[in-house]
Subunit: 337 residues, 2 copies
DNA sequence: TTTCCAAATGGAAACGTTTTATATCGCATG
DNA sequence: CATGCGATATAAAACGTTTCCATTTGGAAA
C-alpha cells in the first residue's frame, strides 16, 4: 500500500476524531487523553500516515531545514565541516540543503536567494571573503545566518573560527625557534580574508618579533592544491638563498612542498623543516608525517550549527563570535627539540 | 525593506491584475500579454517579491528538491560524487537535501522517510549494501530512486556504476602480466556488495585465468582507511612468502600499503608493485605516484542525477542500469613494461 | 456590422497542515 | 443538584501558491 497521499484528514476519520487532535498527537502536544492518543496512533500506523512537511511548513512557517553554502563540497576541508554541521543538525531534527558556490559572488547571492525562497529556517555560510553585496543580502535575510570558518570582517554576523593569525604566528615561531633565520611561506591567494589578512599577518608578526626581516620572495602564492605547493617549492629551491623552513597554508600544499624537497634530493626534516595547516587526514599520509596547525573543521561546523540552533530557539548566547582553540600537532616533518 | 512576507497577492494588487496572472508571469507561462507581463514584473521588482517555494510545493506537488543519502560526506570519495550530483542538480534547477547514513540500516530508513516526508521529487542513494527492509521502503516510495556507486543487486532499481568485477580483473591481470605469480589483495569488508562480490570475484577470475591458485592469506580485509592499509601490509610483510604485487581496494589503502613497504626498507616499484582503486586525488600525492583503477566518482554522481531528471521528466531512457567505462591510470608504482 | 475564436485574464477551489477561538465533557465543589 | 472549571476536543480560518474553469477581450472573418 502506498503510504502516500493519506492525509491528516483520513487519519482523523479513521480514528473518529478531528484533524486538530491528530495534529496534536503527531506533534506531541500533551493536551490529549491517553486513550485518544492511542486511538489516533493506531489509525496512523494502520494507514501508514506520514505528515507532509511541506504543508506543515506552510502552516507553521518553519521548515526544520537549514541552508548550507559551501565553496566546494569535494574539498576535504569543507566536506569535514559539512559533516560537523549535518551531525548537529540531525541531532536537532534539522535537515540540510547543500549548495556549492565555488566562491563566486554571483552563485553565492543566487544560492542565498534560492534558499530563502525555500523558506529555510537559517543558513550557514562558508566562503573566502564576504562581498559587499552579499552582506547586503544577508542584512535583508528574514532568517539568521552563521558564518563557519569565515571571518565576519567587522560585520555584525555570528561566526565560528579559530584565531588564524595566532595560529600562523605559532607555526612560524616554532620554525624560527628551530634556528631558522628565514621561513618560507607558501599559501593561497591573498584576496581570501583568512589567508591574506590573518595567516599572513601572523607570519609577519612572528618574523618581526624575532627581529627577522620579511623577504617578499620568501612568500609564494598558489591555489591551495598539492600541485601548486609542489610547484612553488620547486621554484623556491632554485634560489641559492632558499629558506630551509617552510610554513604551508594547507596540508595539501605542504605535501607538495615535501615532495618537491625530496625530489630535489634533500631530506625532511634534516635539510628542510615543514609545517602545514589544517590537520586534514593527509597529514599522516606522508613520510615524514606532517607537523601541522590543527584547525578542527568538524568542530567548527558542529559549533556553527549549534550556534544557529541557539539563535533559532532564542536561547541565550554568550558570544556570537566564537573562536575555537587551535594547537600544533607535532609530527616528523619537524626535528626533535 | 524586508522582502519577506510580500505575497503574490500583494504583487497582484500593486500591478492591478489577478494573482493567477502574477503566477503565470512568475512561471513563464506564455499566455500573458507583453505589456501585462512588464507591469507585473515591475511590481515584482518594486516590492522585492520572492515566491514562497513551500506554498508552491504544496500547490503543485513538486518541490524541485531531491534527497541525497550518502554514507559519509567527509569521505573524499562521496564528496566527489556529491559534487557531481549537485552540479547537475543545479543545472536542472533542483536543490539537494543531503544526509549521512554511516551505512547504518536504521539511519538509511529513517533518512529515507524524512526525505519523503519533505516531499522531495526524487532520491539518490549511495550505500555499501541494500538491506532488505530498505528495498521494501524503496518499493513503497512515491518518488523515483536512483542508486549511485551502489549495485542494485538484481532489484529493479536504476543505478549508475562501473564494472567493478572487470576493473578488479584488469588490475590483477596487469600485475600478473608483470611476472608475479602471487598477487596480494588488500581491501575492505566483504559484506559490502561492490567489494565482497565484484572486486573479489574479478581478482579471483584473473588468478584463475592465469592458472594461479587463490591463497586465502594473500587477501587481507581492512576498513578502507590509510591506517588499515598500512597495518595489513605490515602483517603481510612478515610472511616469507609475501606477494610482491599488491592490489588495494582503495587509493587510501594503497598509500598505506606503499608506506608499509617503504618503511620496511623496500622500494616501490622495484621490489613491490602496487595498484590502487578509485583514482582519488591521493593517487598523485605520493612517491611513487600510484597506478590505479579510475572510477569516475564525479561522473557517476552527475550521470545518476541526470538519470533522475530524465525519470522525473518522463524522458525516454535507454538503459536504467548504467555502467560507466573504467580504465587503469598508469603511474610509477608499477614498473615500465 | 455581426459572429466567432483564440488569447488573455480572473475567480475560486485545492494542496495538507497548524493554530486560534470555541464548544463540550467530566467531575469535584458548594 | 446545580455550578463552575480544567481538560479535551472540534470547527474553521489561515498559510501562499497553482490550476481548473469561466469569463472577457480584441480582432479577423463573414
Amino acid at each position: 500500500m502506498n503510504s502516500n497521499n493519506v492525509t491528516i484528514y483520513d487519519v482523523a476519520r479513521e480514528a473518529g476524531v478531528s484533524m486538530a487532535t491528530v495534529s496534536r498527537v503527531v506533534n506531541g502536544n500533551p493536551n490529549v487523553k491517553p486513550t485518544t492518543r492511542k486511538k489516533v496512533q493506531d489509525a496512523i500506523d494502520r494507514l501508514g500516515y506520514r505528515p507532509n512537511a511541506v504543508a506543515r511548513g506552510l502552516a507553521s512557517k518553519k521548515t526544520t531545514t537549514v541552508g548550507v553554502i559551501v565553496p566546494d563540497i569535494s574539498n576535504i576541508f569543507f566536506a569535514d565541516l559539512a559533516r560537523g554541521i549535518e551531525d548537529v543538525a540531525t541531532m536537532y531534527k534539522y535537515n540540510i540543503i547543500l549548495g556549492n558556490s565555488d566562491s563566486s559572488r554571483d552563485k553565492e547571492v543566487h544560492l542565498l536567494n534560492t534558499l530563502l525562497g525555500k523558506q529555510v529556517d537559517g543558513i550557514i555560510f562558508m566562503g573566502g571573503r564576504l562581498h559587499e553585496d552579499l552582506v547586503e543580502e544577508f542584512k535583508k535575510s528574514p532568517v539568521p545566518i552563521v558564518l563557519a570558518a569565515t571571518l565576519n570582517q567587522g560585520y555584525d554576523l555570528p561566526a565560528v573560527n579559530i584565531d588564524y593569525e595566532q595560529a600562523a604566528y605559532d607555526a612560524t615561531q616554532m620554525l624560527i625557534n628551530h634556528g631558522h633565520d628565514r621561513v618560507g611561506f607558501i599559501t593561497g591567494p591573498l584576496e581570501q580574508q583568512i589567508n591574506g589578512e590573518k595567516k599572513f599577518a601572523g607570519y609577519r608578526r612572528a618574523l618581526e618579533d624575532a627581529g627577522l626581516p620579511f623577504h617578499e620572495n620568501d612568500m609564494i602564492l598558489g591555489n591551495y592544491t598539492y600541485a601548486s605547493g609542489l610547484e612553488a617549492m620547486q621554484k623556491m629551491l632554485q634560489r641559492d638563498d632558499c629558506p630551509k623552513a617552510i610554513f604551508a597554508g594547507t596540508d595539501e600544499m605542504a605535501l607538495g612542498v615535501i615532495h618537491a624537497i625530496q625530489d630535489a634530493g634533500y631530506s625532511v626534516p634534516n635539510d628542510f623543516e615543514v609545517v602545514g595547516h589544517d590537520n586534514t587526514r593527509l597529514a599522516t599520509m606522508i613520510r615524514p608525517k606532517l607537523t601541522t596547525v590543527v584547525q578542527p573543521m568538524y568542530d567548527i561546523g558542529a559549533v556553527a550549527m549549534r550556534l544557529l540552533t541557539k539563535i533559532l530557539n532564542a536561547e541565550e548566547i554568550e558570544e556570537k563570535n566564537v573562536v575555537l582553540p587551535h594547537r600544533i600537532e607535532r609530527r616528523d616533518s619537524l626535528r626533535q627539540d
